[in-house]
């Protein structure tokens, strides 16, 4: 008796649940999407909000004595005894023939890793000055988790700081293409006729162009003496100029289906203008599809920024982004000696993978025909 009512209640809850609730439930069953989502949240949390707190140095601090130092291993055992996490000091030796510096661990000096230490100053969220860092070691010890670059700057801190630009550029770019895509796709599908024809031709034209040469041409047009923020903004605009067409197609297809529905007629009779009919009545009807599409569009933009910066027409130093960091790896001979400079690449790949997982999970969740 009790069991049947439980069951009935459950069924009832299922039928009464809003489409968003159903989506959320299905999404939480998608394991890879959950993993991907958690990793992304962590990246955004650490990279964008608390970059200063979680990095160990300022991105521009140079350790002249330690250029191209290899990553230091965090160890737990010293003299065979378990200790709190620590690193050994680094000993520098210069090869007399090639003048290449090599670094070996000095097994006698132990620098324990301390938490909540005071280090280089930074601005929290660009506002509050602080010098509190999550972890670090005491002077004169060094802590280079990902090694250092040619100028002796800590790669770990730079990778964390690069996350801010690399992760947000996709969001900003997608936001811009979202507006263009919804507007043009919406007009195209809703109005039909000549407008539709023109916009469709434009979309066909844009999507038949190879993206990279166009990006390169546009990015080369951005004057290099501009402010880094202005360049950043221009690059996002460039990424979205080519990126809106896919979304516009989805929006148009959906609108063609929906515009003959009764509620649209009702809205028209009530005197709604065309833009407000699209914006208030039609778009919310397939918002979930739009979100899926957007999630899958972000990684493309992240890869775009990385590629452009890598070949030197995107963002430029002193801006720190993953693409900018990877510029140092252009010469394969130097990379084979200093493979840790490739570490930002791992972050790019993991980020893009996670976005794809989340996008796939959302797509399954948003698909009403899939099993519940």
């Amino acid at each position: 008796m009790n069991r049947t009512t439980n069951r009935e209640q459950e069924t009832e809850r299922y039928y009464l649940a809003s489409s968003w609730t159903l989506m959320r439930r299905k999404f939480f069953k998608h394991r890879m999407a959950l993993v991907g989502g958690s990793v992304l949240l962590l990246f955004y949390f650490v990279g964008s909000l608390f970059a200063g707190f979680f990095s160990t140095h300022d991105t521009l601090t140079r350790f002249g004595d330690y250029s191209l130092a290899s990553p230091q291993r965090v160890r737990l055992f010293h003299d065979g005894r378990l200790q709190r996490p620590f690193v050994y000091g680094l000993k520098v030796s210069v090869n007399p023939e090639t003048y290449r510096r090599t670094y070996v661990e000095d097994g006698t000096t132990v620098y324990p890793i301390r938490f909540f230490v005071h280090g280089d100053q930074y601005r929290f969220l660009g506002l509050v000055r602080s010098n509190l860092r999550f972890f670090g070691v005491d002077e004169p010890g060094t802590l280079f988790l990902f090694g250092t670059d040619r100028l002796g700057r800590d790669m770990y801190s730079r990778t964390v700081a690069g996350a801010r630009v690399s992760l947000t550029i996709g969001l900003v770019g997608v936001a811009i293409s979202f507006v263009i895509g919804c507007l043009l796709g919406g007009l195209s599908g809703y109005l039909g006729g000549t407008v539709d024809m023109l916009i469709q031709r434009l979309i066909e034209f844009l999507s038949s162009l190879p993206t990279l040469p166009i990006w390169m041409a546009l990015a080369a047009a951005v004057p290099s003496e501009w402010d880094p923020i202005a360049i950043y903004f221009m690059i996002t605009v460039i990424l979205s100029i080519v990126g809106w067409t896919g979304l516009a197609r989805v929006v148009r297809g959906k609108l063609l289906q929906l515009r003959v529905e009764d509620y649209v007629l009702a809205a028209k009779i009530a005197g709604a203008t065309e833009l407000s009919t699209i914006g208030r009545h039609l778009l919310p009807g397939f918002m979930s599809f739009l979100i899926v599409h957007l999630t899958l569009a972000i990684p493309g933009m992240i890869l775009g920024e990385t590629a452009l910066s890598f070949i030197g027409v995107g963002l430029r130093a002193p801006v720190v982004s993953w693409g900018v960091l990877l510029q140092q790896t252009q010469n394969i001979r130097s990379v084979s000696l200093t493979p840790w400079l490739l570490i930002p690449a791992i972050f790019v790949i993991v980020t893009v993978l996670c976005f794809n997982f989340v996008g796939d999970g959302l797509r399954d969740a948003a698909d009403p025909t899939a099993d519940r």
């Binding site: 190879p210 790896t329 997982f357």
Partner: protein, 332 residues
Amino acid sequence: MLSYIVQRILYMMVLLVLLSFVSFVLIELPPGDFLDNLIQQLRNAGVQVDVEQIRDLEERYGLNLPFMQRYLKWFGNLLRGDMGESFAYNQPVTELIGQRLLLTVTISLLTLVLTYAIAIPIGIYSATHQYSFTDYAATAFGFIGLATPNFLLALILMYIVFKYFGWSVGGLFSPEFEFSPWNLAKLVDLLKHLPIPLIVVGTAGTAGLIRVMRAALLDELRKQYVLTGRAKGLEEGRLLFKYPLRIAINPIVSSVGWLLPAIISGETLTALVLGLPTVGPLLLQAQQGQDMYLAGSLVMLLSALAMMGMLISDLMLVLVDPRIRFAREATA
């Protein structure tokens, strides 16, 4: 059918004219022009710049004309097969890009063929053996392949090959063949260098296609008619190739349209990292140095190549899918 092809080709012509204008605008966008760059360079080198000489150069390159006039002049010459002159190389653009373009086209088309040859069988296997080990492996490859940008894959491959085999890969020819005329030895040398660029350019496309193929075939395999065929005793292989596969192949065929532009983009970038003698590095150089006729012609040619992909995919769809073919014949 013939009228459809003619119609499509005419339509492409219109797009190409439009494209020539867009590429020209793109090239004109950067502030200043090639001469400004040249003057700056000469000044930096401490050379006195002769005003008279500059005016001569301006005249010769047509840089003093207004925008529209310059475009019309360039476009008019383009129709006669003359793409103008590269400022930096002092050579006609057509001469400069001839072989490079050929290599770009070769690599792109080879990649395209290879992508299909690998992706379609794996996609089919993945769908017919859903949740098997191979299916999981293919899915994992698909995700990682899509997430790894071309140039990173190039870097990683080069690093691995260099580290474990001690080879320095890159380029398309060994130094001794770089400038030699074509012969059998040079061809063999080219074939030896080809695999890495092909892997690098093709991975993303292959990964994407496997997923498309798998999803499309899975959708078909779930349908009733497959069950009916099986119940009536149709042999499994015959059933697969005769019905579901023919429907599931459609999205693959129409993918040429977006795959070719993607491959060309990928090739451009890969060429920069691997140092391939294709048009990619030339394009970057031309764009940075505002060598406008060279850059404009390259953007134009690459985009035209991508548009060919659209045309081919549309024509192939007509050939492969009888529904589209008959619908067209009925209306014509």
